[in-house]
């Protein structure tokens, strides 16, 4: 008996104010034909640049952000030999130790799972329109970020949606 080609797992992408259910994301990507699941859990640190952080607030251009997150998930399948992808980002006020972003990637072999998970968080931090405000005892600041790369000038205009 040889194994049938497994059906691909649908990508799961979430953006919301509720705590991220990491277990559900892992269960979503973890299939019987996978030999490896790599996860990245981005959590709220109690310090930033040597100062004690009290809490964070994330805001987002939500309609665009969810599309960019879906694009990242889709791109992983073309770049890496992976199976399932789940990406979740939380918005609103987050306390120390809470998860702001969680990514799970499954694959038959570990190298693709590691490469894809890392690529996903690196790309998310560069291209998804989400902003973090850090609250300290003596005030709040918008975190330094990365300027997304712009596309080259396009001749054809895209109609309003």
């Amino acid at each position: 008996m040889t194994t049938a080609a497994p059906s691909p797992t649908a990508d799961l992408v979430q953006l919301g104010r509720e705590p991220i259910a990491a277990d559900a994301l892992i269960r979503h990507v973890r299939q019987a034909h996978d030999g490896a699941v790599v996860t990245f859990d981005g959590c709220v640190r109690n310090h930033s640049h040597g100062r004690a952080t009290l809490y964070l607030e994330y805001e987002s251009y939500e309609s665009m952000a969810i599309e960019k997150m879906k694009e990242i998930a889709a791109s992983l399948h073309t770049l890496f030999a992976i199976d399932g992808v789940a990406i979740a980002h939380r918005l609103g006020r987050l306390e120390i130790g809470e998860t702001s972003v969680f990514i799970a990637v499954s694959a038959p072999h570990r190298k693709a799972a590691f490469d894809a998970c890392r690529h996903a968080i690196d790309t998310l931090k560069k291209t998804v329109p989400i902003w973090k405000k850090e609250f300290f005892e003596d005030g709040a600041v918008w975190a330094d970020g990365e300027l997304p790369p712009l596309p080259a000038a396009t001749p054809a205009a895209k109609p309003a949606s």
């Binding site: 251009y61 309609s63 972003v101 309003a160």
Partner: protein, 81 residues
Amino acid sequence: MQARVLFFGKLKDIAGSAERCVEFRSGETISELFERCASQKPELAPFRSSVVASRNQEFAPWTAVLESGDEVAFLPPVSGG
């Protein structure tokens, strides 16, 4: 012609609002739309070089030509994750 303009993060604080409607003339680009915003709110002008723009939820070059009803956002460096 009119565009819906959105500001986020630090830029929203400076613009004083998250969203406004801006009138423009046929053939104008995103860059000219930003200038219109900065002429209403001069504090925005210095940020021209440190923001990117999107048009209808896609990153767009400053030279992109607007159409009526476009949703344009000015996005400071992103810091999700």
